[in-house]
Amino acid sequence: MSDAPTIEMSGVVKRFGNKPVLEGVNLSVPAGQTFAFLGRNGAGKTTAIRMLLGLLKPDAGTVRVLGLDPQKAPTEVRRRVGYLAEDQAMFGWMRVDQIMAFVKPFYPTWDDRWATQLRERFELPLATKVRHLSKGQGVRLGLLLALAHRPELVTLDDPTLGLDPIMRKEFLRDLVTYLQGQRVTVFFSSHLLYEIEPVADAVAILDRGRIVRQATTDELRAKVKRLILPAQAEATARGLPGLLDFSHGGRQIAVVVEDAPAATAVLRAEGVAADEVDLNLDEIFEAYVIGRKEPASAEPLLERVA
């Protein structure tokens, strides 16, 4: 496998009319990685993903997928990428076998045996019309169609949107099982962080059109921490490097910092004792996209990092 990144976005800008959607997005996803693209609804995830497929043209910047420009070689890119769109609409009048037969000719690498295995694993009835499938079956059918041609990159745009929690777990279990046997790069977007955590090697957090952090999940967990400090250390806390969130709790202050070792070193130099608390991905994401640097009482509820 090549060392070149599977996905590379550099300075990507996209506007719809006067509304900026992506503002200088830089992103690099190495081959073989399971990469989670995180952001709130409307953050620009779908726009970015559609650019990867060549469905949207960036206003500025460059996009490379598997070394190709999706604008110049969209057909080649789409042949090598498996794509499951957010709430993907299927052709309701087709039966499962018909939609498989319809999609197959577009992919020279379509693997019939693998498609059959996936269909059996996903328990999809061949003779049932797509419109009669349950929501979960519909998503699994979308996944089958995205995987049956053995793509080098799988791009999933909020694949579990609309599924109930059990279905979401089943879906991810299926995905993980697939990943265990393949060396495929997976790029998937979601806003349900607890789902991402067990499967993602790395994440990028997109907020209001900008990547506010890209790192491996291990690095994020190791570095982004909550520090509990005495209230007297407020001035020091406000000056901490990489401060993401600040909250006042009576005699204590809780801050979230993006580089805990660096922040702890500063506190130690100031003679302030601090307790470190580990954060899960959900809390880390929250700190990045809705974190506050001012006390909650003095700020609007959803004040974000400037």
């Binding site: 949207l56 057909t75 042949r79 009048w93 000719p105």
Partner: protein, 234 residues
Amino acid sequence: MRSLFWKEWHEQRWKLAFGALILVGFSVIGLRARVIADETMLEAVCFLAVPLLSVLSSTGLVPAEREEGTLQTLLALPVRPSLIFAMKAVIGILLCAVPLVVAAIASMAIAGGREISAASIIELHLRTLAATLALFFWMLALTVRLPTETRAALVTMGVLIMWMIVTVGLPQGWNPQMVSSRFWLVDPLVFLLGFRNGKWGVSLALAAALQAIIALALWLWAAWQFPRPLEARS
């Protein structure tokens, strides 16, 4: 390509059957009943065919898929959007042509040579097909960006009414003989009304050539607009 054709055919074949059934039904019943002259009956059927087939064929091709969201699924496949659009246009042309061909065959079988010759029946249906196709390209181009089938239907009706107004010359009132003294070269309905006195030749060639160029331009414009996402307009 076969896969795309198969999909479009399966989606539109009921419209084709409906169009053929209506035209053949009217032709057969009218020509067998003989309440009016065969020529008048056939002209009535052809006047019905133009709006019926052009609207029926153009509204379901792109706006219906946008409305259902399946157009995005289609565009995400590894195939050039121009090929998808071309296949839709081919199906649209078939939707216009096949019912007219079937109706012409049925009419010739019943009334060919009775009051009017089989050649005249073919000519009448060919003129109807030319008018229907010219309108189809106008409607296809003007509805390609619309998000719903209902809006597309309204626009196609608007296109039809506009050309009818242009054809009959609103200020002068109904007068087929002065049809489109100004617009006859670009008027799709001129194929139905403009050559009733058998003035074929140069007039027809000019109108057909110009309208073929217009249809090509409309098709190219629609093919360019077809894959562009709607939100890009906002």
